[in-house]
């Protein structure tokens, strides 16, 4: 088993596993966020649960962080190895003749997502950690007695620049996933029969989810 992850293919499998984990997380994250469009209360309830549940906070959250870090560190390593595999590049290379833009630029779409994640941490995660674990306020309440989550969310999406950045980031996420989804299953060795269906599903996922996030951001921008 350990031999597997020393090989190039094994690393790809690990990469794919981390990606699957991230995609599942993304789906869950989306499911919670979209609540904010329909009902502030439901959103607050679920957010509070997620923000204070021991299992989520001290087990899932570290795993998630590890997943993200693992994914992009592996991504960088892969990229470095792959760049080294061709020391002299072609004078003329017609990449678009045989590949999609998305597949050739995973590192760039990935980096855009990374930049977003950093922003996202500054926006939500660091204040959260600050409130909960440094100031020790785990009530999740505002001074007026209401849950703070929805308020904060709305507040963040007042700034058009931030909203713009979110939109751009999610476009990159869509591009990343347009190749990434099907790629994951190819890496995991999915056979051709399944692959065709997976590809169709992957395209849908890669477009609908990021589009949903964009919708949420715009919704709050226009509705506060």
């Amino acid at each position: 088993m350990s031999g597997l992850f020393k090989s190039s293919i094994g690393r790809k499998v690990a990469m794919a596993l981390s990606a699957i984990f991230l995609m599942i997380f993304l789906l869950q994250h989306f499911a919670i966020n979209i609540l904010s469009v329909f009902s502030a209360d439901r959103f607050n309830d679920v957010s509070h649960f997620m923000g204070t549940n021991f299992f989520v906070q001290f087990l899932l959250q570290p795993v998630l962080i590890f997943g993200v870090v693992f994914h992009f560190v592996m991504g960088f390593m892969l990229e470095i190895r792959n760049r080294n595999a061709r020391t002299i590049s072609y004078a003329k290379n017609n990449g678009s003749a045989n590949t999609t833009w998305m597949s050739r630029n995973m590192i760039w779409s990935g980096l855009a997502i990374l930049a977003f994640i950093v922003l996202h941490f500054i926006d939500f995660w660091i204040p959260e950690i600050n409130t909960k674990y440094i100031q020790g306020d785990v009530s999740g309440l505002l001074p007026d007695g209401n849950f703070r989550y929805f308020e904060e969310l709305q507040h963040k999406f007042e700034n058009p620049i931030r909203v713009g950045a979110y939109v751009v980031a999610f476009v990159f996420l869509a591009l990343h996933l347009l190749h990434g989804f099907a790629s994951t299953f190819q890496s995991m060795g999915a056979g051709s029969m399944r692959r065709a269906k997976l590809q169709a599903f992957g395209k849908a996922y890669a477009i609908i989810i990021p589009l949903g996030f964009i919708f949420i951001a715009l919704f709050h921008y226009f509705n506060h």
Binding site: N84, R86, R104, R195
Partner: protein, 246 residues
């Protein structure tokens, strides 16, 4: 037709190379690409210059020797053909054609357009065989029935000509299609089962050792492969490797 050719010239493995422009005139559209190169070489010899070295042998798309990167694509713009099967009718009068060697760290240039593909040899030596003695005292051929479907599929994998276009066209210079095809051929046949575990492990380990890049599933190889080897071969190899390790 008249053409401008920009060709990579490199004296030997150690020298630095560069692109050089040449002019060829009165090229017939019925010529094969390599016949056009012959015309250029004849012209160079007559002018007292050194002709361009390039690999070729069968000139009918089966030996896998020819290997040119033409206008940014392995074996040129046409699909399902090797360089030797490419014809000049795919180009227009006045075109500029860029011709480079297959590039990968694992395929160092030997001279001009000739590259060293011995990395492929070593991968095959690491396990691309079934260990039977060549004594002829094996069992009768029909004692191992194989479904037509499996036999046909194994045949499809086995048609790989080892040209290296997959490596050349992959942005990562990955050899997965080539190795996947060989692993697949044996994985699909009952004869290959006995050594399946070691075969895939050893071949992949050798592939990594040779310095090929890692597959990111862009699919360029499948598009440029002159023999239509499909990505399924890579997926199958991935499965085989996982199976071998679990």
């Amino acid at each position: 037709m008249n053409l401008t050719l920009k060709i990579w010239r490199q004296k030997d493995a150690k020298s630095k190379g560069k692109m050089v422009s040449y002019q060829v005139n009165d090229i017939s559209e019925h010529m094969s690409f390599l016949e056009m190169m012959d015309v250029l070489n004849e012209q160079l010899i007559n002018e007292g210059q050194e002709p361009i070295a390039f690999d070729h042998d069968c000139r009918e798309g089966i030996c896998g020797m020819c290997s040119m990167y033409i206008n940014g694509e392995a074996h040129g713009p046409d699909r399902g053909v090797t360089t030797c099967q490419l014809h000049m009718r795919s180009f227009k009068d006045g075109d500029t054609i860029t011709i480079e060697p297959f590039r990968a760290k694992a395929f160092p240039v030997i001279k001009d357009l000739v590259v060293d593909r011995s990395a492929f040899e070593r991968i095959q030596q690491a396990g691309g065989f079934i260990s039977v003695n060549t004594s002829g005292n094996t069992q009768d051929a029909n004692a191992i029935p194989i479904s037509k479907h499996a036999a046909d599929e194994a045949m499809d994998s086995a048609t790989c000509i080892g040209c290296g276009a997959c490596v050349a066209s992959c942005k990562n210079a990955s050899a997965m299609l080539f190795v996947g095809a060989k692993v697949s051929q044996y994985a699909l046949l009952p004869q290959g089962q006995i050594e399946a575990t070691d075969r895939v492990k050893n071949m992949v380990a050798q592939m990594d050792l040779e310095g090929f890049g890692n597959c990111t599933n862009t699919g360029a190889c499948e598009v440029e492969c002159p023999k239509g080897i499909s990505l399924e071969n890579i997926a199958r190899m991935n499965r085989e490797l996982m199976k071998a390790n679990l």
